[in-house]
């Protein structure tokens, strides 16, 4: 049963990812992205990684895409933006990216099929306790570096936003 659920979730992920990049309206595309993220979270649950699945929903679908929606709402694009998108997305520009993507897919497929033995995922659960032990054990340096990275992003985002606020005050 888990096998079929994987195919269903994978199919939904691919369809909504494709829908996300072809929409004209930015908020519709973001909702399709949320559907993709939720189906990837379902696949994580199936693979026995429930901690990763919950974190994906909380942080990716629940904070990062919300930030995207904030910016879309702030910029308040309206109907003219939808018309402009329709002019920008012509059918002719699909040809070369599709050929490149197809070539890349074939190359990666050849690389994947090189191994002989069958690698099958058993689905035993790796719970939050093991992940926590691993994070604060061998990977503690990575955690500290991620904290420094987030601090740098915090300072950068504050700086970029601050100039906008000061420009508004001048007007």
């Amino acid at each position: 049963m888990g096998y079929w659920l994987f195919w269903i979730a994978g199919g939904i992920a691919i369809l909504s990812a494709f829908a996300a990049i072809t929409r004209m309206n930015a908020s519709h595309a973001l909702i399709y992205l949320v559907i993709t993220l939720l189906s990837i979270a379902v696949i994580f649950f199936l693979l026995g990684a429930p901690f990763a699945a919950a974190l994906e929903i909380v942080i990716y679908a629940g904070a990062i895409v919300v930030l995207f929606l904030f910016v879309v709402m702030m910029l308040n694009l309206g109907r003219r933006a939808v018309e402009r998108e329709r002019q920008w997305l012509l059918p002719g520009i699909w040809v070369i990216p599709a050929i490149m993507a197809g070539a890349l897919f074939i190359v990666l497929g050849i690389a994947l099929s090189g191994s002989e033995h069958e690698a099958v995922i058993e689905g035993t659960m790796v719970g939050p306790k093991e992940v926590g032990r691993s994070l604060l054990g061998p990977y503690i340096l990575g955690v500290e570096l991620a904290a420094v990275l987030l601090l740098a992003a915090l300072v950068g985002a504050f700086h970029l936003g601050r100039r906008y606020i000061e420009e508004r005050r001048e007007k």
């Binding site: 309206n25 519709h28 919300v66 709402m73 939050p128």
Partner: protein
């Protein structure tokens, strides 16, 4: 047993029970607010106004089902569904008794946090799709408040997780057999209550949706059953946060043996809900920037300190 998971039978009772409880709460809250504010509550419809919720539902269902003409039709209809649906999905992990849980997963608390993160979308999309300046501003403010207080909700839960050693709600209740967590984790309880109030945007945190501020905020353009669904989602969120406070800090179904576990759970949840209604009656509404600075400047250091001290005490007691 027979390869069938008997906890699937609990889905319908718990979902229906939550919805009926939300309906009853509509009437009960207005009655209790009337008592606190020294006035009569609803008393026209039925004995003591009990049928008030039914009257409200009939009124909402028979209203004109209207979508704003230049707004985004799909997102406008989707938003109330997300608000109510995300809150209903969180009831899957709430334990009523030792064996009355639909899903006893080992990440139950994270599932609750995930569903509250998804509930932000309802508010954001409602503000976006309404084609109304007030709704846009109200939606942005409400969503920013919800995202902020989600952080503190998660951080304040970590003390409980450290004391019980697991994210599973059943383990959390079973770890409270000697002492309920409201005593060692009192700071965590206070922060979780404040954050829970802000997540469900109730008073005192309902500035983005109050009637005189921003002309009702993100649900300005909603009428009829869509508005009813948003209100139902809010009451469901209140019941959910009360259930979680009881499970995490007040011992869940534990109590003296003369009553079954879920009766104790019900009594405690009713007491916590009445406490929230009291807060609504008694506390004035802070300004939006006061609200956000309370969160980031006071609650964030306090919750981090709570994690630090809890971790230190747990490590010291384990050695």
């Amino acid at each position: 047993m027979f390869g069938v998971d008997w906890s699937y039978l609990l889905i319908l009772p718990i979902v229906l029970g939550a919805l009926v409880a939300a309906l009853v709460l509509v009437w009960w809250e207005r009655r209790v607010l009337g008592w606190f504010q020294d006035r009569l509550g609803p008393n026209r419809v039925g004995w003591f106004g009990v049928l008030q919720a039914l009257a409200d539902v009939i009124k909402l269902v028979t209203k004109d089902d209207w979508v704003p003409p230049f707004g985004d039709r799909i997102l406008f209809i989707l938003a109330p569904v997300i608000v109510a649906g995300a809150m209903l999905m969180s009831f899957v992990v709430v334990p009523l008794d030792a064996h009355l849980i639909i899903a006893d997963t080992n990440i139950a608390l994270l599932w609750f946090l995930a569903m509250s993160s998804l509930a932000v979308y309802g508010v954001l999309l409602a503000g976006l799709a309404s084609n109304n300046k007030y709704a846009l501003l109200g939606g942005l403010r409400s969503a920013a408040q919800m995202v902020t207080y989600e952080v503190f909700m998660g951080l304040s839960l970590l003390g409980v997780v450290m004391l019980s050693g697991s994210f599973s709600l059943k383990d959390v209740v079973e770890a409270q057999e000697e002492m309920w967590f409201c005593i060692p984790q009192f700071v965590g309880l206070v922060i979780f209550v404040i954050a829970g109030l802000a997540e469900t945007h109730r008073l005192p945190f309902d500035l983005p949706e109050a009637e005189h501020e921003l002309t009702a905020g993100f649900h300005t353009e909603y009428s009829g059953m869509k508005f009813g669904l948003i209100m139902a989602g809010e009451y469901l969120a209140l019941i959910l946060v009360s259930c979680l406070i009881v499970v995490l800090f007040f011992g869940g179904w534990l109590g003296p043996g003369f009553l079954p576990g879920f009766v104790w759970f019900g009594i405690k949840v009713v007491l916590v809900i009445n406490f929230f209604i009291l807060l609504r009656a008694a506390i004035p509404r802070p300004r939006y920037d006061q609200l956000m600075s309370l969160g980031w400047k006071i609650l964030l250091p306090l919750s981090l300190l709570n994690i630090l001290v809890s971790g230190a005490v747990v490590l010291w007691m384990a050695s």
